[in-house]
């Protein structure tokens, strides 16, 4: 999976550079997020700008990351969801769970 990791201030931004986040690659995202929190990162932003398709496994990997954040007293937020991807969060009511920002810049402001 193509994941680009960038640290700004105390926030790690994970850019998911994949067109699909599905049962084929979501386990990699799940372990990457898990490792960040285990290594002491407190704030993680997952940017989904390039993702045009997400399935239940992709949603599950993000839920797992969110729970990881809580158990490490950290935060996991999302940015740059394409409209069809966002509608999957709405269908599964997960838009009520995650803080979702239109862009990584706006999300970064919220972390401050």
């Amino acid at each position: 999976m193509n994941l680009v990791n960038e640290t700004r201030n105390d926030v790690v931004i994970l850019y998911v550079r994949e067109e699909r986040l599905d049962a084929h690659n979501s386990a990699e995202l799940k372990s990457a997020v898990q490792k960040l929190f285990e290594d002491g990162t407190k704030n993680v932003l997952v940017d989904l700008k390039d993702v045009r398709f997400i399935d239940s496994s992709g949603l599950g990997a993000l839920v797992s990351g969110f729970k990881n954040a809580i158990s490490h007293q950290g935060n996991l937020k999302l940015s740059s969801l394409q409209s069809q991807v966002k509608s999957m969060f709405e269908l599964t009511r997960l838009h009520r769970v995650f803080e979702i920002f239109p862009s990584s810049v706006e999300a970064m402001e919220n972390f401050q």
Binding site: D22, A23, S56, V63, K67, M88, R93
Partner: protein, 141 residues
């Protein structure tokens, strides 16, 4: 696609790397329909998703007998009714026993069948003499 009559019968290895191939077939069908009054991009996403979820389901439930198993998928469109059948030879499961996800509890899993049910008009899972069939139908007009 004259008269909107289509039948695609395909077998792919039961590996997740083929999900995008199967999903793309669903997207292409949505975009090539001769008559469809709804939003094609949304339909394309939905068909991609139900095919992806159904194939993951078949991979999960596949029997352990042969390592190089194939998943068979039949997509047919007749008189504006789309039917997708996905076959597996595993133990099977009771689809009616799968609950709607509890939205108050954050589970990692358990949204696949819910998504299929939300996006298709009808969903059933039954066994014929040799295998299980997940059958999903949707009226396209």
């Amino acid at each position: 696609m004259e008269g909107n009559r289509i039948e695609v019968d395909i077998k792919v290895p039961n590996k997740t790397r083929y999900l995008s191939l199967i999903g793309r077939i669903g997207e292409d069908i949505a975009r090539e329909l001769e008559k469809y009054s709804g939003d094609r991009d949304t339909l394309a996403y939905h068909l991609n998703l139900v095919l992806t979820e159904a194939m993951v389901n078949a991979i999960k439930h596949a029997g352990p007998n042969e390592p190089e198993k194939l998943v068979r998928i039949i997509i047919s469109l007749h008189a504006s009714e789309l039917t997708i059948r996905v076959f597996d030879d595993g133990q099977g499961f009771d689809i009616n026993a799968i609950p709607t996800p509890n939205f108050e509890e954050l589970e990692d899993r358990g949204r696949g069948i819910f998504l299929i049910r939300s996006l298709m008009d009808s969903v059933s899972y039954h066994k014929n003499c040799r295998e299980n069939i997940l059958e999903m139908k949707k009226k396209l007009s």
